[in-house]
Symmetry: C2
Subunit: 144 residues, 2 copies
DNA sequence: GATTATATGTCAACTATATTGACTTACTGG
DNA sequence: CCAGTAAGTCAATATAGTTGACATATAATC
């Protein structure tokens, strides 16, 4: 590497390679089911937010409903996710993982957790908290 | 957020949102020139590795030469990058940023550096090093 | 009760980014 | 001379996203 005038260049590069490594193993697991990263994100947020609505998912993922439609349809038809109308407002559809969906989502999260655990292995609890705080600070810099 | 059985879930989510925030501003700058993330990666690695060859770029980016061809052609024809045959081995093409390419790449790196600086603002030098070490450890976990 | 607003779904056309396979051109090196 | 290597190109295909237009069902409001 050359041209290190900027002290943040190391971090830019590290984050690029880290993210690529971080998504590689989930991508391999998903590919076995003929699924991709778009399906992963849906599975992830439905797992983290049970009974999430389609609209909430759109806000979180920041994609158009047309972009959500195709991977979500696939997850519904392959029985990874179920959809039930809200009891109060029947226009709203609430999403849940099926046991099959939970199993796949768990495999994906386990793979990523394992990578993080290995990355944290040689740093202390203080450093671990520093990593999370900094990474969250970065998230928070998203433009409105 | 629910279902926090796994202590790494916070980190998985933070990294997803951090990476999205981190690429958003470069994406906006690139879009003004009608370019995308593929062009950014090429500009970045040509900037960091002057006189890099096409083959080295393919190895670094881990994409097919057909996937590289179209964005690289665009960067050459729009004079962001120049291509000169190696003096020793005339089959090899060495890539360099033009002043125009350096200017764009610098704008992109500056935007990302600024985000990192802001994220690091409230953590100490020790924590900063911890973040970089951990993120690099994550990069290093890529399967061969 | 009629109208308006909201939540979701769907079709269509387009773009960007990637893949694999097949082939060409130019050059290198034994 | 010939085999191998570096790069480029064409074609077909897949995925993931966009915007625009429109449909349907339900809720909320005047």
């Amino acid at each position: 590497m050359v041209d290190q005038k900027n002290p943040e260049h190391d971090a830019i590069e590290a984050l690029y390679f880290a993210y690529r490594a971080f998504t590689a193993e989930p991508d391999r697991i998903l590919a076995k089911q003929g699924l991709g990263r778009a399906h992963h994100r849906i599975l992830y947020f439905v797992a983290r937010t049970p009974a999430v609505t389609v609209g909430e998912l759109l806000n979180t993922l920041e994609i158009s409903k047309q972009a959500l439609a195709s991977p979500l349809r696939r997850l519904l038809s392959d029985a990874y996710i179920t959809q039930t109308p809200d009891t109060q407002d029947k226009r709203v559809r609430r999403l849940q993982l099926t046991p099959k969906g939970r199993k796949l989502e768990s495999a994906l999260s386990t793979a990523q957790s394992a990578m993080l655990r290995r990355a944290f292995e040689h740093v202390g609890a203080q450093d671990r908290r520093a990593w999370l705080d900094t990474t969250r600070a970065l998230s928070a810099l998203a433009k409105p």
